[in-house]
């Protein structure tokens, strides 16, 4: 069975690449199928008994009141910071793959300084916000 699991077959790099992502695609489908199948089984089994209050939103047993759907600015701020820093993190990866010293064919100190400057710029931003007290909750 392990022999089955291992595909030691010479193929072109591109084919192999597509095949890897084919498995990803299969997994997307598989997860959907699993969800669907289980819900399907449930659909055949489960009872349905409408009761007058069953479909009311649960709110600790009292009537749901007032408006719904508004939120806090702070969450937004964090999301905002996340977007920016996420982009930063994404750019770190290509460097990380080439972080070797120049002798080994990597970017060496040159790349290091570059990424250092890049990170430093954003950390400076973070430090600025921190100092300004914008990271505080209240």
């Amino acid at each position: 069975m392990i022999a089955l699991l291992s595909d030691q077959l010479a193929t072109s790099e591109m084919t192999e690449y597509y095949r890897q992502y084919l498995s990803v695609g299969v997994f997307v489908l598989a997860s959907l199928v699993m969800v669907g199948a289980m819900l399907g089984v449930g659909y055949f089994l489960r009872p349905t008994r409408p009761q007058p209050q069953k479909y009311i939103t649960y709110e600790s047993g009292s009537d749901p009141v007032g408006s719904f759907g508004q939120q806090n600015v702070r969450y937004y701020l964090y999301a905002l910071m996340f977007v920016i820093f996420d982009v930063e993190a994404v750019f770190v990866f290509p460097w990380a793959l080439n972080a070797d010293g120049a002798a080994q064919g990597g970017l060496g100190w040159f790349g290091f300084i570059e990424i250092f400057v890049f990170v430093a710029i954003l950390v400076a931003g973070l430090a600025y916000l921190w100092r300004k007290g914008l990271l505080k909750w209240a």
Partner: protein, 99 residues
């Protein structure tokens, strides 16, 4: 694969984006439409890069992505500011600057 199928797709997305920018009344939706256009641009870039068989397109797409992220951040911050001051998210309402 033909290159032009990607180009057509991107043209379609771009057009949809333009339609959205023109017709949408909610600022957030306008921003979403702009995102559509940026995706179209990225598909173009990457498709060209793939045709050239190198990473240049991808690198540019990465830069576009970074800038798009910054754009959304600032854009939504502005929306928030407008919303806070005008209680509306309709770009047409923002005419306080007009004398």
């Amino acid at each position: 694969m033909m290159l032009n199928q990607f180009l057509l797709l991107s043209a379609f997305l771009f057009g949809t984006g333009i339609y959205g920018v023109i017709t949408r009344k909610h600022t957030v939706l306008v921003l979403a439409s702009i995102e559509l256009m940026l995706v179209a641009v990225n598909i173009n870039l990457v498709a060209f890069g793939a045709t050239l068989n190198n990473a240049v397109g991808q690198v540019f797409a990465l830069f576009v992505l970074a800038i798009a992220a910054a754009e959304v951040g600032v854009g939504l911050a502005i929306v928030l500011l407008i919303y806070r001051n005008l209680r509306s998210a309709n770009p047409d309402d923002v005419n306080v600057l007009k004398g």
